[in-house]
Amino acid sequence: MSKNGDKIDRLRKKIDALAQQAITTIESKRLGDSVTETIRRRTRQGYGVDSAGNRTKLKALTDEYVETRRRYSDDLSEFTTPKKSNLTATGQMLDAMRGVASRGRIEVEIAGSRKPGLGGQRSKISNSTLARYVQEMGRQFFGLTKPERTGLVRQVKLIFLRALRAGLNTNK
């Protein structure tokens, strides 16, 4: 291997070891939850994210659906209104996003099956399936915008820095 290739290989190993040691399952869960909270907050404000990481306004609701939401407005979450397009009716899907504890990684998921929706309507699909459906219908939300990603990188960098300064052994 060339001298530069050698250096890159050493750096890659150091980075892997750093992630394995500094991102404990507790830290992983905390970071995953922080990611999902960021997505939840932005989505409730009515914004999604496109594949390039740009923040995009979520498509407006159809007139028919606004009417349904008006009819069952008592069932609506406190975070929405009949006209507001923010992927929130009862709020179950966004509330089902969470971090997964996984050493050395950040993992997020949309968990669980759905409780009755507006008007007590029963549903057999999972929150994850619903999320996939709304994304396929043009309301992409499950991801990070560029600034959100930058903020997360900064948060993680501080964890790694603390670990490096505490003399974590990454010379494996």
Partner: protein
């Protein structure tokens, strides 16, 4: 609308690696200080209007709604004895937002009295505190800068590894 950036003088003994690491520390400092509600000089920002508090859902003056503006601050350039920090020149929207806060214009042609929230910059003594963390010995300063940049690379790789695919 002017390009929002700040040029900081640093000792010429710092090489490219150290300059990048120093810039990252300065940016982190600016973001943390702003999020704590303080301006460049450490004074509290003027409060938001009643309407804006309702819109934001908080009275906390931290220049953070979508986190877009603060997270966009980056190292624009560096050379011996100098680092340039600020917003990408081509992003007119963010430069406009930042200028509105810096001067207190918020879309108006002239500043609104008492509403300026200068955040893009660092007091001399705060910069000195950051620089003091970088050892005078060149090799030690380089080690610290290497740690800083390794942490940044590792963080980038970890975040890149997040899978947002939803299972079938």
């Amino acid at each position: 609308m002017a390009w929002q950036r700040v040029k900081l003088s640093i000792p010429k003994r710092f090489g490219p690696l150290e300059r990048q690491a120093i810039a990252q520390e300065v940016i982190d400092f600016i973001i943390n200080r702003t999020k704590s509600g303080k301006n460049i000089n450490g004074k509290s920002f003027p409060g938001y209007t009643k309407e804006y508090k309702v819109f934001k859902g908080s009275s906390n003056v931290d220049l953070t709604l979508s986190e877009e503006m603060l997270n966009a601050i980056s190292l624009l350039n560096h050379k011996s004895g100098e680092i340039l920090i600020g917003f990408d020149k081509s992003d007119k929207e963010l430069n406009g937002k930042a200028e509105g806060n810096q001067l207190g214009t918020y879309g108006q042609p002239t500043p609104i009295k008492g509403k300026a929230r200068p955040f893009l910059g660092i007091k001399g003594e705060d910069l000195k505190n950051i620089l003091d963390q970088f050892p005078v010995q060149k090799s030690e300063a380089r080690d610290k800068a290497t740690d800083d940049l390794t942490a940044a690379l590792a963080a980038d790789a970890l975040v890149d590894g997040i899978d947002f695919e939803l299972p079938e």
